[in-house]
Every structure is written in C-alpha cells, then in structure tokens.
C-alpha cells in the first residue's frame, strides 16, 4: 500500500496532467505524509532537546550518575585545581623562605587550602563526579563575563570556558619561583600568591551566590572572606619590602 502511495506521489509530481489516481488514494497520502512528517519533526525536537541536555552536563563536568548540581560540581573540580597550585607555591615558601612572616602565611595558606581540597574532593566522591575537570575551566560560571575582576586568564575565553583560570601562575612563573632565592624569592612568592588569590576570589563569589548546596555556598563564602583578608596582608608585606604587586587578573 505504501509503495503504491509513493508511486502515486511521484507520478503526480512528474506529470500532474496524466495523474488519474483514484480519489481514496489521493486523499490518504496527504494525511499519511503529514503524520510521518509531524512524527519526524517531533522526534527531531526530542533528539535536539536530549543533545542540549547532554551538552549542558558535559560542560558542567557532571555526568549521568552525578548527584551534584552544575555549579557545585564545577566549582569543586576547578577550585581543587586552583587550590593545588596555591598549595604548591606555599609549600615552596614554607620550605625555602628565611623570613618568619612569609613562612607563617605560607604555612597557613598551604594547610587551609589543602584541607579545603579534601572537602571538595569528598563532595565530588559522594556525588559520583570526576575528581578533576575535563576540558575547559569555569564552564559552570554562566554569566561570569559580567562579573568584575573575572578575567579570561591567559587562554581563550567564551561560553565554553577558559583554558587557564584567572590568577594561575604560568609554567614560566613557577620556574622562576623555583630558581629564585633570598629576598627575591620572598617578593616573587608574595606577588604570585596575591595574584592567585585575586583570581580565585571571584570564582568563589560566583559559587557563593549560585551554588546549589548550602555547604558549597558556605565554603565559597569563607574562601571569599579569608582570601580577601590574606590578600590585604600580602599587599602590606609586598609594600613593606618596597615592591609592587603584579597586575591583578583582568
């Protein structure tokens, strides 16, 4: 029956004059066609909807079995990476600086951020989410562009995130820190760590405002408060040493 209809359709198209199909056959193909077209259209819409849903989950770093919210998971993954670099630099300063003021702020940053990484990793584990982000950073910050101090890092930026988070020291910065010594090391450490804090605070502020879970919003808020205070202190230490801070993240 279907083939007959299709043939009728083709012949009616190619030579409408000669088309002498019976009445019943000419009425039903139209209805049949409409049903098929409508079904295909509905299916297409459903598929696109599913694709959109998956793309949002992919961007957020969450996965099907992840029980965390988009902002919660993205913040915990990205801030773990951001914190790890602070821990790395602070560990170097605790080991190598001779200045008690530097050593104590370094020990403080190292231990508190390490503990916070542990909290975030614990949440990710309970949410069945990956420990590390995949692909771009900060994809969970939907309207990040409108936030003051929210830079593009050193990488490309757009709706899909950034390749480098704001405030992160480059491999060259870290190499310089590794080879520096004495007062030069102290000042370089302070400048890199201050810029690192300045980059991390807006991320935490976003999570404080948009996090899905109360505990996540609370940690984010505490990061904003304590890192802002540490930033003021490091600014003071930099000035005391007759140095200038680095350009804050854009």
């Amino acid at each position: 029956m279907n083939d007959a209809m299709a043939e009728a359709a083709i012949s009616s198209k190619s030579s409408p004059e000669s088309a002498e199909a019976p009445t019943s056959a000419t009425k039903s193909p139209g209805r049949w066609l409409r049903v098929v077209l409508a079904s295909i259209a509905v299916l297409a819409v459903l598929l696109l909807g599913a694709a959109l849903g998956m793309s949002l989950q992919l961007l957020s770093g969450a996965s099907a079995q992840s029980e965390g919210g988009t902002v919660d998971v993205g913040f915990a993954q990205d801030m773990s990476v951001h914190h790890r670099q602070a821990v790395q630099m602070a560990g170097m300063a605790r080991d190598r600086s001779a200045d008690p003021a530097i050593r104590s702020i370094a020990f403080d940053i190292e231990t508190n951020q390490l503990q916070q990484i542990g909290q975030m990793q614990g949440w990710l584990s309970l949410w069945n989410a990956a420990a590390l982000p995949t692909g771009q950073y900060m994809t969970w910050m939907a309207d990040a562009e409108s936030m003051p101090g929210m830079g593009h890092g050193d990488g490309s930026s757009g709706a899909a995130g950034v390749t480098t988070m704001p405030g992160m020291a480059s491999p060259a910065d870290l190499e310089q820190l590794r080879t520096a010594g004495g007062a030069q090391f102290d000042v370089l450490f302070l400048r890199l760590m201050l810029r690192h804090h300045q980059g991390g605070v807006p991320m935490a502020r976003y999570a404080e405002q948009h996090g899905e879970t109360a505990q996540v919003r609370n940690l984010a808020e505490k990061i904003v408060v304590s890192q802002s205070a540490e930033s003021d202190y490091m600014m003071q230490l930099i000035t005391q040493r007759g140095a200038q801070p680095l350009q804050p993240p854009r």
């Binding site: 009616s12 259209a41 297409a44 694709a51 998956m54 790890r84 821990v87 990793q121 989410a129």
Partner: protein, 269 residues
C-alpha cells in the same frame, strides 16, 4: 506544527483534482534536513557524553578502565615498601606500574621530563594517583611529541617522560594499570586518564601530593633511568618494607606501608 491542522482541513476540503497536484516537497525536504541534523547532533553529543559517563569512576563502577581494549591490570596491593636511592626493584613490567619504590616520588604535577627518569621514583608517583605517559623517543618526535607535551604540561597528576627501548610508541601507567598505544590521538588515552587519574578506588595513597619533594628531588635533574636489567640483589616485588628484612634505606614517613606485612588490599583493580 500549529499550522498543520488548519492546512489539513483546507486541503481535505479541496476538490480531488487539486489534491493530486501539489506535494509539499519543500516541507518534506525541510523536515528531513532538520531530522538529519538532529540525528547528527544527537549522535555526536551522545558519543561524547557516553565517553564521559562510561569512564568516570563511581561507587557503582569503581574501575571503569576495565572497558578499555588492551588494558593490562595487575593487583600490586597498597602501601608497598620504600627503598633508598642506591637500590633497584625487580619490576615485572616495562615500564613498571606498581610495586616497591623509592622513598622519594617523582614530581607529577604536570611535569614534562626532558630525560628518562629512574623507574623507582616514577612508580612512587603512581602510588600518589598520577598517570605517567612514557614514550619511545625513537618513535615519538615532532608534532606527536608536542601533542603529548601540550596534554601534560601543567596538568594535575600527569607526567611525561621518554623511555628508551619502550616496546610501543606510547605507554600509559597508573597504579596497577597499563595501556600501550601507537597513536597519540588514540581515544583510549583519554579514557585511561579519565578512568584512572586520582581514581580513589584504584590508587593507594589518597590525598598524596604530586608536588616536588623540596631538596630531595629536582625535576630539572631527576635521577636517571637505568636501562640495564636489575641484578640479583634487586629488591623483589614482594618487599613490603617489613622490619628486620630491610634491604635498603627505609625512610618511609609518607605511608604507613612500612609496618608489618601488607594486608590484602580491597579489590581495586
């Protein structure tokens, strides 16, 4: 399709002669085009999504790497013994991916090593949750090498090093896991890293650092790789760092693995 119903009504009301004439070829083409587009987009997203979902460790699927074709999995247990810088371990795989190791770990926080590094230090980094990408320097050069460097440089818990005499162009190691591939664009590399890097169910020392152990390890001048097979005085794989049988320097403050025999580890691999 809100207009569908009304146009249908109009159409059905028409005389038979006109009903045979116009077929909505434009509409058909448009709907088919949209459907093809939707299927393509859906297929693409679904593949990527499935990749991510399938290789993320969860309480239900603790080791998703078992789905990777060609993966070698071996249970080395947890908390193996530590040896000193003058000793060697009789590893059972090349490159090794588990067993006793040097007390000092190789820095594994996105380090690209220019020269081959001593196995005993690299294995310690695997115990800390890192993935080690080793490549044969005779086979991986130019753009292929650059793509590996770009992937590793600065990345958390990844390290890259040349491995002379490697029996494949590229070999990936995580604690108790190994995958050898020929192409740096092989998707299985992504799957391996997604499944095993910092996988809390498969690496022994949760929370351990990949940073440089200050004063004890220099990533710019790492202890060199030794190509010669370990001699008869090499530390056996079963060495657990137990007291009294110390074959080497046991400065093992980082893990509690130095105490009595290694307990049977929980199934992790």
């Amino acid at each position: 399709m809100p207009s569908g119903k009304s146009s249908k009504t109009v159409r059905n009301a028409r005389p038979v002669v006109t009903a045979t004439k116009p077929k909505p070829w434009g509409t058909i083409a448009a709907v088919v085009a949209i459907a093809v587009f939707a299927v393509a987009i859906f297929g693409y997203m679904f593949t990527r999504y499935e990749d991510r979902r399938a290789f993320t460790p969860t309480a239900g699927t603790k080791d998703p790497s078992t789905q990777i074709q060609g993966i070698v999995i071996q249970n080395y247990g947890a908390g193996r013994g530590h040896i000193g810088p003058d000793k060697r371990v009789a590893y059972d795989h090349s490159p090794p991916f588990g067993g006793p190791h040097d007390a000092t770990w190789a820095a594994c926080n996105g380090v690209v090593y220019a020269t081959p590094v001593r196995n005993e230090n690299m294995v310690h980094a695997l115990e800390h949750g890192a993935v080690w990408i080793a490549y044969n320097p005779d086979k991986i050069t130019g753009a292929a090498l650059q793509s590996l460097r770009d992937r590793v440089q600065g990345a958390n818990y990844l390290m890259l090093s040349p491995y002379p005499g490697l029996d494949a162009p590229i070999s990936l190691q995580a604690w108790g896991h190994q995958l050898k591939v020929t192409d740096p664009a092989d998707k299985r590399m992504d799957h391996f890293i997604q499944a095993l890097r910092l996988n809390q169910y498969t690496y022994p020392e949760i929370g351990a650092s990949c940073d440089v152990l200050s004063g004890l390890f220099d990533p710019a001048k790492p202890p060199p790789f030794v190509a010669a097979p370990p001699g008869p005085d090499a530390v056996p794989l079963t060495f657990s760092g137990g007291r009294g049988t110390s074959p080497g320097d046991e400065s093992a403050p980082a893990t509690p693995g130095g105490t009595p025999p290694v307990p049977t580890p929980p199934a992790g691999g």
